[in-house]
């Protein structure tokens, strides 16, 4: 008696759930859906959704978007559990390259429109996504690194000139320091990637000071960290930071404790806490969300990090978010094809903070003269090299970021820091 009423209750419950199942499946359209994993949140996520909107409207495919600050870990778990997203966009290719080598990522050569890719992308971007002769990664939005941001009003008030050589940059920083203000704002905190903004400095210095062949050897793990070229990059950056980090607002504590996005905003304090901030082109989004009244060109502007060695003039480090396909579905193919078009890329370009690698993207699409200028720099760069640490094996990259934090903490420990890095280099590339 008692048990039969229990059974009846269960039957009713199951019937209810199955009805729900039937309703659930019927309400999903037949265009299907796609799972995307990326690192964009907040304003960047809104921009990405704006990009997806026309594609979703046209195809009727539903996007399930997920983001994580800790993208590498989440992706590794999902891939390991056999539940990867259909597409993933990683801010650096290291993780995706790892998966590509393990055969977890799908080669794109016969999945996407290669003719349009080859017609519209420069070979270097295609090469960057190519592993063992097959294309695994594509780039939709990129950034130029090594841009020194400044507030033109502050420069004018003190009649500082924009430096056009490395020497004049060094002169400018000692002039600023002489006036009792720290010349630089540097901020290195970035969760599990803490230290990367400092590694940007080092890449730019290595490329501009010692040239592309040293840079390539450094990426490939054949150039030792203790070699004079790499050591010199550290000491050159040390000159920028000053003895005991005295050229930087707040010294080492501030550098280590402050998130990379917040570092530069102290240029706009009154009076300014610092005059210059080195960061890639995306940083404008952070400026304007911290101080909404700021206008490009009048309130913030940039100059490229001056050339160090004349022989390698016009060398720049670039980076970008790379896409990879983990599941070959018609929806994933369709979206991959859409994301390499100028139309898709222009939508975000217009919203600011990103540069399109597609040659068809009109320069007029850039919302302000500054992003347009950085896009022109990208086009005109004589020696373009992709972000070095982002191409190193994960262990090497993590050690390099940590080395930045250690170096900033105590510059006198440079030799032992470099020796540790050599030790990691010896095993990380196996």
């Amino acid at each position: 008696m008692h048990s039969s009423s229990l059974v009846r209750a269960l039957v009713v419950a199951m019937a209810a759930v199955f009805t729900a199942v039937a309703c659930g499946t019927s309400s999903t359209g037949n265009a299907g859906s796609i799972k995307i994993l990326a690192a964009w949140s907040g304003q960047e996520q809104a921009s990405f959704f704006a990009v997806l909107k026309p594609w979703e409207d046209k195809t009727g495919i539903k996007v399930n978007y997920e983001y994580s600050r800790d993208l590498d870990a989440l992706l590794t778990t999902r891939v390991g559990a056999g539940n990867p997203p259909d597409l993933a966009a990683a801010p650096s290719p290291t993780t995706l390259t790892n998966f590509a080598k393990q055969g977890k990522v799908i080669a794109l050569d016969d999945k996407i429109d290669m003719t349009s890719l080859k017609a519209n992308y420069s070979q270097s971007w295609i090469d960057l996504g190519t592993i063992n002769g097959k294309l695994y990664e594509t780039f939709s939005w990129v950034a130029v690194k090594g841009l020194i941001w400044y507030d033109p009003k502050n420069f004018q008030a003190k009649s500082y000139n924009v430096p056009n050589s490395w020497q004049s940059l060094m002169d400018l920083q000692s002039t600023i320091k002489g006036s009792g203000v720290t010349p630089w704002c540097v901020a290195l905190e970035s969760g599990s990637a803490s230290g990367w903004p400092g590694s940007d400095w080092l890449k730019e210095i290595v490329l501009s000071q010692s040239g592309p062949s040293v840079y390539d050897g450094w990426v490939a793990g054949t150039q030792k960290w203790t070699s004079p070229e790499i050591k010199s990059a550290f000491t050159t950056w040390g000159q920028v930071l000053g003895a005991n980090d005295s050229n930087v607002y707040g010294g080492k504590q501030f550098m280590l404790a402050t998130n990379f996005g917040d570092g530069g905003t102290h240029m706009f304090d009154n009076p300014p806490k610092c005059y210059m901030h080195n960061q890639a082109s995306f940083i404008t989004t952070f400026f304007t969300s911290a101080v909404p009244s700021l206008q490009p060109v009048t309130d913030f502007n940039f100059f490229p990090l001056p050339d160090i060695t004349a022989q390698y003039a016009g060398a720049h480090v670039v980076a970008g978010d790379s896409w990879a396909m983990f599941r070959d579905t018609s929806q994933a193919r369709s979206l991959m094809n859409y994301l390499i078009t100028a139309d898709a890329q222009t939508i975000w370009v217009k919203r600011g903070g990103k540069i399109s690698p597609n040659k068809q993207t009109a320069l007029d699409a850039y919302p302000d003269p500054l992003t347009k200028e950085s896009a022109q720099i990208l086009v005109a760069t004589k020696i373009a090299k992709y972000d070095a640490t982002d191409q190193m094996p994960a262990d090497m990259r993590a050690a390099a970021w940590k080395a930045v934090l250690d170096f900033v903490g105590d510059q006198s420990k440079l030799d032992s820091i470099l020796k540790t890095l050599d030790g990691v280099q010896a095993t990380a590339y196996k």
């Binding site: 269960l10 419950a13 199951m14 759930v17 199955f18 729900a20 199942v21 659930g24 499946t25 999903t28 859906s33 399930n64 590498d72 870990a73 590794t76 778990t77 790892n98 969760g191 599990s192 803490s194 230290g195 607002y249 707040g250 010294g251 080492k252 504590q253 501030f254 280590l256 404790a257 402050t258 806490k273 994960a394 262990d395 993590a398 940590k402 934090l405 903490g409 105590d410 540790t420 030790g423």
Partner: protein, 337 residues
């Protein structure tokens, strides 16, 4: 918030909501059915196994068998070749700053000692002091409240508490606001490796945050033990002329000892598996790494499961003595009853 993802996988939902209870009910009913069919004298031998069966199965499947695989993997490289103790050698190389040594030091010395001591001392003091006031329930609820916060949220809250701005700027972090009020330079609590790069200060800052979160737990258990001490005993001591401090030292403390030891050993295990606070607040940088976080990094960032297994086993070896002690203590308490 988009809940449509839940609906997109309805079969799983059905299995979880309906299937799991059905299977459990069927197991119990079926088990009893089998037991009833047995001769009377065999029933007491079989029934307990039917009831602990699912628990044994789960422990074996989720804990024991994976642990054995972890041990095996720690002796292999990432391609599955046997490499002997190489993974352990990598983790224990370059004493005192290389390999896992920083994490080992932080876990086994700083976290184990200070975290356990802080939580026990605060928990005991609060339990004893609040026992004497009328508004005990209210205060105890307040102290217990952080237990309801997830450790990640706790880390974020304390990150704001420890926030650093250079001298001369407005200090938005609570602690630095206090410190600068007394005309001291602000302190970068989480980054400052005082003294002399030994990184005691920032590790203590992390432990402080973790302590805030768990003190309520220790306090509630110790408070319950305190309530269990018969009032006549304390009265007898008072009649004999003992002061309150003497009563605490000579009567209350010894009687609470078994509980203190159990709470203490539990805290030691918490200290050894510290992860979330470190992950959120410093990411193991500035010499605040701990073993659990190093394991996580090796696995997910370095894609080095063999190295991660070795760290896991090191952690296991560190925990085992505590576990054994804890079990013995349980048995001793049981025996006294």
């Amino acid at each position: 918030m988009d809940f449509s993802i839940l609906l997109s996988d309805l079969p799983t939902l059905v299995v979880v909501i309906v299937g799991v209870p059905i299977v459990l009910a069927a197991y119990i009913v079926g088990g009893e059915y089998v037991v009833r069919r047995l001769p009377d004298k065999n029933r007491p031998q079989v029934r307990p196994w039917i009831w602990v069966g699912p628990a044994i199965f789960l422990v074996a499947a989720i804990l024991f068998i994976p642990a054995i695989f972890t041990v095996i993997q720690s002796f292999q490289d990432n391609q599955g070749n046997f490499v002997g103790l190489q993974n352990y050698a990598n983790q224990l190389a370059d004493f005192p700053s290389g390999g896992a040594w920083i994490a080992i030091r932080n876990n086994i010395i700083i976290w184990l000692i200070f975290y356990t001591l802080f939580v026990l001392a605060f928990g005991l003091a609060l339990a004893v002091l609040f026992d004497r006031v009328a508004y005990e329930t209210v205060v105890k609820s307040l102290i217990f409240m952080p237990m309801a916060i997830s450790s990640v949220a706790l880390g974020v809250i304390w990150k704001f508490m420890f926030w650093y701005q250079p001298p001369g700027s407005a200090q938005t972090g609570t602690l630095n606001a206090i410190v600068t009020f007394f005309h001291h330079d602000p302190v970068a609590w989480l980054q400052d490796q005082w003294p002399n790069g030994l990184a005691i200060l920032n590790n203590l800052a992390l432990i402080g945050a973790a302590t805030w979160g768990i003190t309520g737990f220790a306090m509630v258990i110790l408070s319950a033990a305190l309530k269990g001490i018969p009032g006549e005993l304390l009265e007898a001591a008072r009649v004999d002329g003992a002061g309150e401090i003497t009563i605490f030292r000579r009567v209350i403390f010894p009687l609470m000892m078994p509980t203190i030891v159990v709470v203490g050993t539990t805290l030691v295990i918490f200290a050894l598996k510290a992860f979330d606070v470190v992950y959120v607040m410093t990411n193991g940088n500035y010499n605040t790494d701990v073993l659990a976080f190093r394991m996580y990094n090796l696995l997910y960032l370095s894609h080095n499961p063999a190295g991660a297994s070795a760290v896991a086993i090191i952690l296991l070896i560190a925990v085992v003595p505590v576990l054994i002690f804890n079990l013995r203590q349980f048995r001793a308490v049981e025996a006294r009853r």
